[in-house]
Amino acid sequence: MNKDITHCLLCAQRIQAVISWRILLTKQFPPTICDRCMAQFEDSSCAFAIYKYNEAMKVYLHQYKFLQDIALAKVFRQQIHAHFRKERAIIIPIPMHPLKQIERTFSHVEELLKAACIPYIQLLEKTTTETQSTKNREQRIQVAPLFRLIAGRQVEYQDYLLFDDIKTTGTTLQHATTILLDAGAKNVRTFTLISG
């Protein structure tokens, strides 16, 4: 269980040359998917995300979040690790509502960071179980705050970086940013795995 991955997590084909010298020397994570599957994902053209949302990404998110295939948290661990390795701001993953997390059995955003060995802290909690995607644009903008500070947690005069899996309208990240700035954060930036 959870051993070295010898077969692609997406298409189950055998992965060629599991451990190459390059991987050993540069201390990279071994790949978890094959080259053919990796080629299906498109690089994002913006600086605030790694990938673009496309058909392959849709299938990936479905299997990861909807079918709850936690193993897929590892698929982009190398890319996420490379991006955050030198990050100096404090990283905060966008939280799920506790009930939603119990239903899904895991937090998909936190698992992405865990798989990439990126340290993070949590200061926020979600106030609503509704998802943004079920509302229209008007409704999204007008809603009450989606997050609040966890009781007893302190926001410092520091740089923070909010991390989410995907950015569609930006409402979620905006709400979280406002809470942190209002509580005294020096600066808040945002970054997502996928741009919508």
């Binding site: 269980m1 079918l67 709850q68 295939d69 936690i70 193993a71 059995t105 937090s107």
Partner: protein, 455 residues
Amino acid sequence: MNYRSWIVPPALRDFHEGRIWLKEHSPFAQQDIERALQHHYVQVLPGIQTIPSIKCNRCHNQNRHQFILFDCAKCQKTCVYCRHCIKMGRVSSCTQLMIWAGPRFIKQKKHTFHWTGQFTLLQRKAADEVLASVKQRRSHIITAVCGAGKTELLFPTVYYALCQGLRICIATPRTDVVLELFPRFQRTFPQTTIHALYGDAPKQEGYAQLIIATTHQLYRFKQAFDVMIVDEADAFPYVFDDTLQQAVQKAKTAIAPIIVVTATPSQKLLSQFPTVQRSFIPKRYHNHPLPVPQFSALWRYEKCFRAGKIPRKLKKWVEHQLAQQRPFLLFFPTIELMLVAEPLFQAMESTIVAVHAEDPERKEKVLQLRQREVKGLLTTTILERGITIANVQVAVIGAESAIFTASALIQIAGRVGRHVDFADGDILFFHHGITAEMDEARAEIIKYNKEGFSE
């Protein structure tokens, strides 16, 4: 409300009888499920068992690499889930599987058998042999060449089993085959409740005494069927996947016979059946011999395509089909090479298109070929089964590739000459060197023809 007086909702029983199902995914109200539990009408099983060794209780997967450990937010423990059957809804240590143990559906013994077709002598003999086996509850294998009319052979046996009040499953590895068989069985048994189960199948009401399903769907049944028919048994992925074979065993009752229907059985499969439990139809229903594959060398075809040219011999063959107005299929060893070649063929004839396994327009493209709206299709092995197009001509490009096993090549050749009005046709193996698999495919076909026409 007194729960003793509770009457099982028939729909609940009809759905859950014979199924092994995620309790939380039951399509019925949780309070009805709880009631059924109180009455011991439902048995509950953990999703994953760890003793004596790890095993998924739904799909029976035991491969340790396909189990994933994680910290579960639901049960606050370390959980394990099975990746093998995840597409059907995740099964983990803390999920519960439910099995119906309550009153059973009283099966219908009156059925209508509506079929006006006629058997050839060989078909009649095989149909009788299968029926005799099922009457004695013993397993049977039918080997029949492509186009022998295998499905009809099963009608008398299915009718007999239905009238005995038995529950029957016809399982096949491919959704296309399920979709093809379902309406044929509905027409033949118009008063029988039949369900077709596959990946995105619509919800179907009632208790089905006859189920036509993909082999994957068998994971969701336990000791449900009294007769188990496995069609196209040698087809990918069945042959490669032990878990699927176990699923066949799990889905049927211990004494239920298994009927295997195949065009290209392996020796290993055949040897599992004593002679009286074997039937063989070496001849097509229209009594014409199988077209024999021709070999034609197409040296360095791959380089040629990549240089933007269609190899000369192949081009001539395609031109000939276009001139004769005959529909054709070109089989490629890889999707990648096929897509390289596609624009080259389109430059010859604009309606030629490529189709592959994940192509969402697969069905439409095949239909267009059948209706002559497109002149030819480029394809990977995906179309090798369950497609019948009158007067179709077939060429395999790179027949030496490992993907073209003898059994795949026999299936591909079997597309040609199925229609009584066009009983002959081209089957060409273009190659960069002849393989043992190619030789074997050709020898098998010649052997069938000899046996079929020896009297």
